[in-house]
Amino acid sequence: MHPPSSWQAGPGKARYRIDGRTKVTGGKIYARDFRAWDIDGWPAEEEVVLVLRTPFADREFKGVDVSALPEELRPKRIITGEDLEREKIAVAEADYPEGNYLVRPHTVPDYLGQAVALLYFDDFHTMDRARRVLRSQHNRGLDAGPEQPTVADGFYQPETSIIHAETETEQIFSQVRGGPVRPQELQTERDREAMKQVDEIHERLNNPSAFGWTVVNRSFETQTIDPMFMEPESGLGWLDRSSGTLNLLIGTQSPSYDVTAAGELFSDPQSKLGIKHVHLISAYPGGGFGGRDTSALCLFLALAAAFSEKPIRIAYDRFEQFQAGVKRHAGTMNMAVAVDGGGNLQAVRHHIFLNGGGRRNVSTYVAQVAGLDGVGAYEVPLADVWSRPVKTRAQIAGSMRGFGTVQSLFAVESMMDETAVELGLDPIEFRLRNVLAPNQEIVTGARNAPPGLKEMCEHASAHRLWQERDRRKQESAGTERAHGVGFALGMKNYGTGADAALDEVAIDPDGKITVTTNVIDMGTGTATTLAIATAGLLGANADEVRTGVLEPFKALQMVEGFKRQEDNPRWTPIIFESTKAASTSSKWVHGVEQACAVLLSTGLLPAARELWGNSVNVAATDTRWVDGALHADGLRAIPLKDVARQAHDKGHVVSAMIHAFYSGRWVEADYTVGDETFRWQIDGLSVLRGGKTERELVDRKNPKLFTVESIWEGNGQNFGASACLASVAVNRRTGEVTLQEAVHYIGPGKVLQQDLMEGQLDGCFAMGVGQALTEDIPTFEDGGGNGRWNLHRYHVPLSGDVALGRVEKVILPPESDDAPARGIAEVGMVAVAPAIANAVAHATGVRFRSLPITPAKVREAWSG
């Protein structure tokens, strides 16, 4: 047995995760663990609600049919779309399912898995038994009409076009020179100019011999994927009618958007439900991977609570989670690559179709990123990338780790191998001839290429696995298993190009530091990373990190909108952001560090100066923290708790709350606190002084802001590099692909916490294996929407699938002393699946252009 120990291992270091002890002892931490009686101020008695969903979208839903349920399992009441209509339920914001939250009886559902009714039960067991009975019914408890033709597919708007044209000496057309274009719409002069470039690119691709080019045309497909976070979505809701407050408890990646969306449901002036406020309690999510970003669960909790006098609880089981949860878009990629006689890429046409299902959700953003990464990590003079989110009757697809890049990069990196084969070049050598140098222009025209791409190629090229690939392949000829080695290079954005962070750092009179933030920790280690981020400026780790918090930040009184409000010191382009895009390390850590800078300069340092004697004017840069005490040359060391006590006693700043906005650089401005003015990289500030209860807003001055145009032109995306070298064995009889060994490359820049970073990489690798080999779910009627999918049919990789202990990590050192901490939780995933696919192609001599590469596909290819 081990005695209780602290998670801390000294300032800036973690012995283990700050949330670790609770998780390892089975403490209540996930939304699924909480009941109404666990929450202070809530009534103890709760109702349990089943969200009934449709397995069809090709016939009329006539109504709920619970006749299969014995009397004791019948719901107490049923809420349908007609009830929502009667109560004037409005449409929540666009990223959530837009309206028709419960399919109205006698209409055809829009998509598979769409909710049709809320069924209320007195207790969990009755609900659970009822849902099992209903699931066993052919129509899952729905009365259905005859089959009818399905609605034709369409496209969600806006689509993404990235047109790039350059000569050896100048950029002729690019996204950063004037913003996005929609050439197919031909609405502006710029659209027409873009279309001209597109026509020219196509003309050249159609006449390669005129230019001495080799052109390779191929199509690729990627499958629908379930994020398969381990905790099926669950939550609580309670409408406190006495105050008009709708309370939600949920494990979400997007608490701010959930609150906004839930509130918007009741925004119709004719609504009689009387909901004035939405209060959200954020639980630690049991995994996320994007699947909890703008998920609709918050809407169903809100609706279920609005139609109940008691707190309500929704707890999906895994079948329901497969039926209700957002998916990774299935992708179809049509690609043409032109190469000159020297093996240099000359042109790429990449048309990407991503199946977004029956609601837009974040599909347009996913398509945007798929396009952004649509030519991979290579210099391409002419590019026509067109990325289109498709509206179908499939389940909703949305955010998931890899966010569009997984699909487009599978095509790009397969094409690089196929083209190398056509040219008779070594695939890595072909990449090296075209790979981007650090800060080189990418397809958008921005100088955003990350460091490390070339080094990864060179390292892989010299690696034993690559050097021996042909010999090992030959040796495997005639044996039971064919061996092959494949490589893929990844380049992916982290952050969104317009990122916002909200952080508060406060110190109590005993020197205890608390970080409060709107970001959440879905397992990535965010809470731990933010806890150790205070050490640099405050000499100590935070003792507590409160994640997913929203309401205190109203004190900043920020207003948002992309149109610049020059004279409004509260204006910012974006107030809130979901926890996504692997931005924790780079964005919220910055926010915490800036809040620490405010706290140090306006709270702790003035207090220390008083303790040193008022005549002493020590600058922050002249101080340092040693063993929890503030040191300055020639002065006595003062323990943090003494400084904190003085700050509280003398009314200095004891809490700094900030908003920060980033798009390639941080907004920065001057702030005057007391009689001192400082310049910080934040755009909103509120402070609290010792002994006070009211916060003070500090107006920014001389800000360096953005405009819509400058955001586009600056193209504030950050990119990271990754790569994978994979060795596989393919069983000639069964077609089974087994991963033998791998090398996994990442360029993280500054590492904030080594264990957390490496853990993310391990997870990226396993998820990439699933994408390549094991995970698959039909996109339409036979898929998750039918309510019959679970882990007996959906194969998440196990430890035996991921070459455990045989994956070498190559972590590139920071390229400079001031290298940024790069987001790696998505970047690290994207090269894995294409590397495995390339390895399988090497082993089998057959190119598999559709993921996953199942034994059946291999057998079929070999037998054919």
């Binding site: 996930y30 969990f124 381990m230 895994r318 853990g759």
Partner: protein, 173 residues
């Protein structure tokens, strides 16, 4: 529906309940009736193993890892059940819990109790039947190789379990 009088030992304490449904699953009883939410629910069909708890026929008997999501209460009547809440000793963590922390073994942590309890049963097995050092990896794979973790890629879970086995006297010949 058949009802039984339940009488078993849970985390060292006798637990009785009259008139419970015999086919209620153990995971639901723990989470819904007793409020012991440390045992997690994920697939409900005994595939992912997050709901793993350890069961012994009588006190002192072999610990066996079972899936609580498909184990009806009738099957555990009279037996000895240990869940993640029963691993620590008045706040002093079990060596497995400490190793999971020290190795940053889990991320979201939802599958952590299942890995812990399967490893707990493995330690009991090795205590009774030590294995040669070179078989440790196979034993770990056998114990937790079917457990699903979506976050970690399994690397640090296996490392932590192996570390405890090698550092605990008497488990390896």
């Amino acid at each position: 529906m058949e009802k039984i009088d339940l009488d078993f030992i849970l985390n060292g304490e006798r637990t009785t309940r009259s008139g419970v449904h015999a086919n209620m699953m153990l995971v639901d009883f723990l989470r819904e009736e007793l409020g012991l939410t440390g045992t997690k629910f994920c697939c409900g069909i005994a595939v992912c193993r997050v709901c793993t708890v350890s069961v012994a026929r009588v006190p002192g008997a072999h610990q066996i890892a079972i899936r609580a999501c498909t184990t009806p209460l009738s099957d555990i009547n009279g037996k000895v059940v240990t869940t993640v809440e029963g691993l620590d000793d008045d706040g002093e963590l079990h060596s497995l819990q400490q190793a999971f922390l020290d190795n940053f073994a889990f991320q979201c942590g939802y599958c952590c109790p299942g890995f812990l309890m399967a490893s707990y049963a493995l330690l009991d097995q090795l205590k009774r039947s030590p294995v040669p050092r070179e078989r440790v990896d196979d034993m770990v794979e056998e114990a937790v190789g079917q457990h699903i973790c979506r976050c970690t890629g399994y690397v640090r879970y296996h490392r932590a379990i192996r570390q405890v086995i090698l550092e605990t006297p008497g488990l390896v010949t």
